[in-house]
Symmetry: C2
């Protein structure tokens, strides 16, 4: 916030990544593309944020990765959710909704600024 760059809010990136993987196995580039598309170009993940975040999720056992070839015969590291990751996703999504609703509630309090 308060940044002109439109930077991510701390902690949300992991949640979005987990969400991206809930339906399909994706590689890093694909995750970025998926989030951008689904958000209607509102969320653009930087690669310098993505790969460290993926590493953290892997370290925590929330995703697993394997090297494979894409349809275009390029090497890529495909990530998928672990059971723990799936569980975390639901938990974090719920937490996020509660939190964002609470913030919106506060912003809407009189005198409203939204």
């Amino acid at each position: 916030m308060g940044r002109e760059t439109g930077g991510m809010l701390q902690g949300t990136l992991g949640l979005l990544i987990l969400k991206a993987l809930v339906g399909e196995e994706l590689h890093g580039y694909g995750i970025v593309r998926w989030i951008r598309q689904v958000s209607g170009d509102a969320l653009q993940i930087e690669e310098g944020s993505l790969y460290p975040a993926l590493r953290r999720l892997e370290d925590r056992g929330l995703v697993t990765a394997r090297w494979t070839l894409t349809d275009q015969k390029r090497r890529a590291r495909f990530y998928s959710l672990t059971p723990a990751g799936r569980q975390h996703l639901h938990q974090d999504a719920s937490t996020w909704l509660h939190f964002s609703r609470a913030v919106t509630l506060v912003l809407a309090a009189e005198p409203s600024v939204i």
Copy 2:
């Protein structure tokens, strides 16, 4: 996110503080109380987060402070919005809404987790 402590998302705290001051002059303790009440007990600001955040807002010229006595004759530092702070508040609130809507949109994408 992913924290069991329910920690604030980075950057949101400043926004909430600015919002708390839009209608009235408040001291730190009052800001915490106001946010907790208006959010329906959902948001509890830690004092260890609050005072550094207030300092940052002051350094950026978004709030000003003055020492006064409360109704109960206790010394307290009352904060109020500067014009720049008011402007920032509107800007940041708008950014936050766009961002949170985008995240919610992503979370609601099929297969939905919310």
